[in-house]
């Protein structure tokens, strides 16, 4: 009997750990967050309840692929922020592993590049709830009224190195589809990026 109880408890623990590492899929409810922005104000998902959606991008300072997309993220905010899809950039890296991704370095980088969007620090391992594994890693969220759902997961476009040679703007296409009330044709993409740095 005692043994059975032990196995049951173990099973529950295993299930919990499996669930907590699960990757979000398009259509899933987006986890809430409340994290500190570089202006030292808190930014929560519910702050965006009056928007049509949110472009959540797990990104950072140090990763060259994230750097290649900085200007494109600024352009996304310029283009879609006023249309109801503002950008929220989230740095998931532990700065004890990558000093360049510290809160003070985030402030510096945002100033240098004149970021026009919040750049918040994930010190609560939110990235695990989203299932983000790399920087940059995009989650396009759609406002469903009661909550936000995940509409698109993946890359911003199909060419990290050369913005002038992009053929498919996956993220912009997904946002435009939502704006028109159409189905998103590509809901998930993968791309090369940097692993998220955290203490296991």
């Amino acid at each position: 009997m005692k043994k059975a109880k032990f196995y049951l408890v173990s099973l529950i623990f295993i299930l919990i750990s499996v669930v907590s590492q699960a990757q979000l899929q398009p259509g899933d409810k987006a986890p809430n967050f409340n994290l500190k922005n570089i202006d030292r104000q808190w930014v929560a998902l519910e702050d965006y309840n009056n928007e049509k959606g949110v472009i959540v991008i797990f990104t950072c300072n140090h990763c060259p692929y994230a750097v290649l997309y900085e200007d494109r993220i600024i352009d996304l905010q310029s283009k879609f922020g006023s249309k109801g899809f503002p950008v929220v950039a989230i740095n998931p890296n532990d700065s004890t592993i990558v000093p360049d991704d510290s809160f003070s370095k985030m402030i510096l980088r945002a100033e240098e590049k004149q970021f026009n969007f919040p750049y918040i620090l994930d010190d609560q391992e939110l990235f695990k709830e989203y299932g983000a594994t790399r920087t940059p890693h995009v989650y396009l969220l759609k406002n469903e009224g009661e909550h936000f759902s995940v509409a698109y997961i993946g890359a911003i476009d199909d060419n990290a190195q050369d913005v002038n040679d992009v053929e498919e703007k996956y993220l912009a296409n997904a946002i435009n589809a939502l704006l028109k009330g159409e189905q998103i044709s590509v809901k998930e993409t993968r791309a090369v990026g940097c692993t998220i740095k955290f203490h296991e």
Binding site: T133, R134, A155, D158, R190, A191, G193, T195
Partner: protein
């Protein structure tokens, strides 16, 4: 006289060996990811260790010495380790060649040519999100995968899981 000859000969040899190193470094092959996969996943008695890395990727560079330690032969099976760089192919001369001149990479290095978009990532390994470093080990129709940094002991554990 004899001493001078020995010195000249030694000098020549050192010169030659650095020339061959240089020739190797400048001749890093550029191979389509599909063809790399064909080579390593072909069933054989060889254990293939395939590491995706890039010069710009800090944890990748940090784990290179761990891959350098991998033996050529393990439990009576040949081991072949391939370091597949995901640096942009047009940065071979500006980044990869200088990197290889300044760092010790014992294993074969190739520049990975990838198709546009990210579909090739899932086709290469369905568990892979695209973050590097990433390592796939192949042996006899089986494979094991890890996304993230590994050390020598962990690599050996990965190999053992296939034997």
């Amino acid at each position: 006289m004899k001493k001078t000859a020995v010195l000249i000969l030694t000098g020549l040899l050192i010169g030659l060996s650095s020339l061959t190193d240089k020739a190797y470094v400048n001749n890093i092959p550029e191979i389509e990811v599909e063809n790399i996969m064909k080579r390593v996943s072909h069933p054989s008695d060889t254990i293939f260790v395939l590491n995706f890395w890039a010069t710009w990727c800090q944890p990748c560079v940090k784990e290179i010495p761990e891959f350098n330690k991998l033996p050529d032969n393990y439990k009576n099976r040949p081991v072949k380790t391939i370091m597949a760089s995901l640096d942009f192919p047009n940065q071979k001369e500006s980044r990869v060649v200088p990197f290889l001149e300044n760092n010790i990479v014992e294993n074969e290095v190739v520049i990975t040519i990838t198709p546009r978009g990210g579909e090739w990532i899932e086709e290469t390994e369905k568990e892979w999100s695209g973050a590097i470093p990433a390592t796939i080990i192949f042996y006899n129709n089986n494979r094991t995968f890890y996304e993230g940094e590994r050390n020598y002991e962990q690599l050996i554990d990965m190999i053992d899981s296939l034997l």
